[in-house]
């Protein structure tokens, strides 16, 4: 089933490119693909049982047997929701691409390929396979930004490519070091086996291996000061790509941190916890302050992403509390934040894209009173904005409160400072809403039209999970708990109880 989930978008991509019909045909192919994909991921998520085996839907086939590389796929409580997230965002991304007119077949091919590659990242349980999908995702992103982007798209695309590639160079070395640390016969790239091995005595100091992974994931998440590619990439990317970038690509970083850095190296993570807590504070506050200064709506949302990803890092730092106090709330919150941020920021980018399509500007100072002209878009913006600042009954609240509760015992001050980030978020979101959506209607925006049915569908796809998981977070947290539990167990074991 996971193989189908991973390769369905790729087949769709091939079809989108191959079928030489009208633009409408290509769109319909893409839409059918992502809807089928959403159907598959939802049924996977429903069938996935939090009480069942740790890894489910496992598929295993030998691939390069000389080096023990396997085609090994499966999901656990950690990756299942992220696969679902990718399914949801794929639909939103295709819907907001409805107005793309240039090189349409290529565009949808790359977009679907991107979704497939990210699916592969979340569904792979073999480190090499994971790495291959991780790298594969670079190519569609590069083309999507540099062909269909705006502004300095060449520069941003290349910057994105080089940053990520540099990070993955370190990850590659770390993966190989991990593999060769065991005598022949015991070597494996199988993550489900590695998580049970003692990884403290490696061919190189395990802190180096840990750092190799950390750098790769920190670039992706991103953690300040490795974030500088993100605002550029976001600003210049087409809307759908921003949605995918914020929605799932950043999540690959957080997922990697949870799965590999936390899952395999509990001791190292516990040692790095003070550093992570500090970085989290910097991420949250630096990001939030930079947001205040932005005049470009898209750049503003991009920096708010940086700020919000700080909460993921903070959740990871919760392991500094020591095994005795560790109950997984912090890690669960971090995982939850990955999911919720994916839907919320995805929605924000959708809205920004819709505004830009109409007003042809992202300059905040030029806007004002848009809600009168386009009430539906304004509603979308408010939902995303309020969820982003953590309003209760939206999923943003559930994630953040869990991070704070989980990390407070370990790093009270850091948590308090990060909580101040939420206050800042409330400030900049409401201030932005006031400057763009409300206020006196401006004459020059009188011709603007509200969202079309397609646009509403794009927003709706994201609004539903925001409220669904906000009102009833257990739908998510129970599954995440199942994924976090083994990690917590390894902490208890690794840190001597």
């Amino acid at each position: 089933m996971l193989t189908a989930i991973t390769f369905l978008p790729m087949i769709g991509a091939a079809l989108a490119l191959a079928v030489r019909g009208s633009t409408r045909t290509t769109r319909l192919i893409a839409l059918t693909t992502v809807l089928a994909e959403l159907g598959l991921t939802i049924s996977m998520y429903v069938i996935f049982s939090a009480e069942g085996d740790v890894y489910q839907f496992v598929q295993r086939a030998p691939w390069v047997s000389a080096f023990g590389i396997e085609f090994l796929m499966g999901v656990d409580g950690l990756s299942a929701p992220l696969v679902l997230l990718n399914g949801i965002l794929g639909v939103a991304a295709v819907l907001v691409s409805w107005r793309v007119e240039t090189r349409v077949r290529e565009y949808f091919m790359w977009l679907l390929l991107l979704q497939g590659a990210v699916m592969g990242v979340f569904a792979s349980l073999d480190l090499i396979l994971f790495f291959i999908f991780w790298e594969l995702e670079l190519v569609p992103m590069f083309f999507l930004i540099s062909i269909w982007g705006t502004g300095r798209r060449d520069y941003s695309a290349m910057k994105f490519l080089l940053f990520t590639f540099l990070g993955s160079a370190f990850m590659f070395a770390a993966i190989l070091a991990l593999y060769f640390s065991f005598p022949a016969g015991e070597r494996t790239f199988d993550m489900t086996a590695l998580i049970h091995k003692d990884l403290t005595n490696l061919i190189v100091p395990s802190s180096l291996v840990f750092s190799g992974f950390l750098v790769a994931f920190a670039v992706k998440l991103p953690i300040v000061p490795l974030h500088t590619w993100l605002p550029d990439a976001h600003t210049d990317a087409p809307t759908a790509v921003s949605v995918m970038l914020a929605g799932v690509l950043l999540k690959m970083g957080g997922y990697g941190l949870l799965r590999i850095n936390a899952g395999m190296f509990p001791e190292e993570l516990a040692r790095a916890a003070p550093l992570l807590a500090t970085l989290a504070v910097v991420n949250v506050l630096y990001g939030a302050f930079i947001v205040m200064r932005q005049t470009d709506l898209k750049r503003l949302v991009a920096y708010s992403s940086v700020s919000h990803m700080g909460f993921v890092v903070l959740g990871l730092a919760s392991v500094g509390a020591g095994a005795a106090q560790l109950d997984g709330t912090g890690l669960n919150g971090a995982a939850m934040q990955l999911f919720t941020h994916g839907t919320i920021t995805g929605l924000l980018f959708v809205v920004v894209g819709l505004v830009y399509d109409r007003a042809h500007t992202r300059h905040i100072a030029d806007m004002g009173g848009l809600s009168g002209r386009m009430p539906l878009i304004a509603i979308g913006f408010m939902v995303a904005g309020l969820a982003s600042l953590g309003l209760p009954t939206t999923s943003g609240f559930a994630a953040e409160i869990m991070v704070f509760l989980g990390t407070f015992p370990a790093y009270g001050l850091a948590t308090a400072l990060c909580a101040f980030g939420v206050v800042l978020a409330a400030g900049y979101i409401l201030w932005t809403a006031q400057r763009t959506m409300f206020g006196p209607p401006l004459e020059r925006w009188a011709h603007l039209e509200d969202a079309t049915r397609v646009d509403v569908a794009a927003m709706g796809v994201l609004v539903v999970p925001i409220f669904l998981f906000g009102v009833y977070p257990a739908l998510l947290t129970d599954v995440f708990d199942a994924g976090i539990a083994p990690i917590i167990a390894s902490f208890a074991q690794g840190l001597g109880g």
Binding site: F142, A173, F180
Partner: protein, 502 residues
């Protein structure tokens, strides 16, 4: 001991090539038809393949064979390289058959020289003693000198030919000097064990541990031989000629030089160092590790500022020599003393993958520049629409050279870095991986120009001849198929490699 029929069977692949080369050149006297020349040459190469497969079966059944009084060895390692060289020559001839029109009235000589050089490269891989190595090397080199200078009416090819001639002569001198030291220290020319005469490795067994390589003379011999081969490998600091010759020589010649020539050079380096100097592997492993790091770094850094595509491919060839030297340096498994086949097999695998990628790149450049003759990177603008197949092949080849999955380039680097980490050279794997990032900048830069920039002048589609399309499709398929299913070739490479360390 006279020459027996068995000896002739054992060098049948080379003989077939020499015969084919002679026939091709002679046929030029009768007919100048392009199809005839190409057909005869391919017939010869097909015979080479057939004999090669027969020999593989023979070696598989009866073990390693030696011919001509132990001066040649036929093992799977040599056969692997022979297949690679013959395949490369075939593709170069196919892709270059249209380009060869420019050599009029010497088209058949062009094909003949490629075949002669290929036979020399194949003998090089099979050489079992120092003299044979030297003679094969000359046989392989001299035709290339003529090939590099083939277009008479332009200055650049002649400059390339002269440069290649002079530097080959210098490197041969280094090599001979080194061989003289090795002979002086060991008293034998034999690299691969033979019936009666002792090999270099056996004679050197008792050296002093205080001096690297167990003795000053051996050290001088090893270092000079490294320098001599360094020219062929495009290894820093002997790489200077590479970009000049690649840029100046006719494009098919550049392709041949970058792939077949390099494969045979790596083969002989592996054989000499593993078989003759295996005892001092710890010493030369360090040497090659350092050279690998320097070579790839310099190759990649200088490539960044290039503006001519062929010149850039020259620097990229230097960088890739550096990556493959990682495999040479990765001798023993971590914590063990005996050499391990992992390094050799990774080099063999990479040589094949590298050949596919580099040939694809050169062939694409051949197509893209044939009308305008403009080899600047800017001139590639808009090629994504003007010549979709060639642009796609070039893009995939460049992504492969960067090391991005699902191409053979990724798998090749995976195996090379695997070998490095396996022998404890984690730092070298990191240097290699970071180098890939640098290379991404200039490789992807070309892709970007092809697909994202609007062409400035001529905007009409570029027609591609059937032969060119065929060569592009074959290399493109090889890059992707070997990237997705590397196991088959890897197993063959491992079998071939295991012969050198047993």
């Amino acid at each position: 001991m006279g020459i027996t029929g068995r000896d002739l069977f054992l060098i049948a692949p080379e003989l077939a090539l020499v015969v084919a080369a002679t026939v091709v050149v002679l046929s030029g006297l009768v007919s100048r038809q392009r199809q005839l020349t190409l057909g005869l040459a391919l017939l010869g190469l097909a015979a080479t393949f057939a004999f090669g497969i027969a020999l593989w079966g023979d070696v598989h059944a009866n073990g390693t064979q030696s011919a001509f009084n132990h001066s040649l060895v036929v093992d799977k390692f040599a056969l692997y390289i022979k297949f690679l060289v013959a395949g490369t020559a075939a593709l170069v001839l196919i892709a270059g058959s249209e380009y060869a029109e420019r050599f009029r009235p010497y088209e058949s000589e062009f094909s003949g020289l490629v075949l002669f050089s290929a036979s020399g490269l194949m003998l090089l891989a099979a050489s079992a003693d120092l003299i044979t190595i030297y003679v094969s090397l000359e046989l392989a080199t001299l035709p290339v000198v003529a090939l590099a200078a083939f277009v008479r009416m332009r200055v650049a090819p002649i400059e390339a030919g002269v440069k290649y001639l002079l530097l080959s002569a210098v490197s041969s001198a280094f090599l001979l000097y080194g061989f003289a030291f090795l002979y002086g220290a060991s008293g034998t020319m034999q690299v691969v064990s033979s019936g009666s005469a002792p090999t270099i490795a056996q004679s050197l067994a008792a050296g002093t541990a205080a001096v690297p390589f167990g003795g000053l003379a051996v050290m001088a011999g090893a270092v000079l031989a490294t320098a001599g081969f360094g020219f062929k490998l495009s290894m820093v600091p002997f790489q200077m000629w590479t970009p000049d010759v690649y840029e100046g020589a006719p494009t098919p010649v550049g392709a041949f030089l970058a792939t077949a020539s390099k494969a045979a050079a790596f083969a002989v380096v592996l054989r000499l160092f593993y078989e003759a100097l295996g005892g001092s592997s710890a010493d030369w492993s360090t040497l090659f590790a350092a050279l690998a790091a320097i070579t790839m770094t310099i190759g990649n850094l200088v490539a960044v500022v290039q503006s001519n595509v062929k010149r850039l491919l020259g620097y990229s060839a230097i960088a890739h020599a550096g990556y493959m030297l990682i495999g040479v340096a990765a001798v023993t498994a971590h914590g063990q003393d005996t050499p391990d086949a992992a390094g050799i097999s990774s080099v063999l695998f990479y040589l094949s993958g590298y050949a596919a990628m580099t040939l694809a790149a050169f062939f694409a450049v051949l197509v893209l520049t044939q009308r305008s003759g403009d080899e600047r990177i800017e001139a590639m603008a808009g090629m994504g629409r003007r010549a979709p197949l060639a642009a796609l092949a070039l893009a995939v080849a460049l992504l492969g050279l960067t090391g991005i999955p699902p191409t053979v380039g990724f798998m090749g680097k995976l195996f090379l870095f695997n070998a490095a980490v396996n022998s404890g050279l984690v730092w070298l794997a990191v240097v290699g991986a970071v180098n890939s990032v640098v290379s991404a900048y200039y490789y992807v830069g070309i892709i970007r120009t092809m697909y994202l920039r609007q062409p400035t002048g001529d905007n009409t589609p570029i027609p591609v001849a059937f032969s060119g399309r065929l060569a592009l499709l074959v290399t493109l398929a090889a890059i992707l198929v070997l990237g997705l299913w590397p196991s088959g070739l890897l197993e063959v490479a491992r079998t071939a490699a295991s012969g050198l360390v047993s």
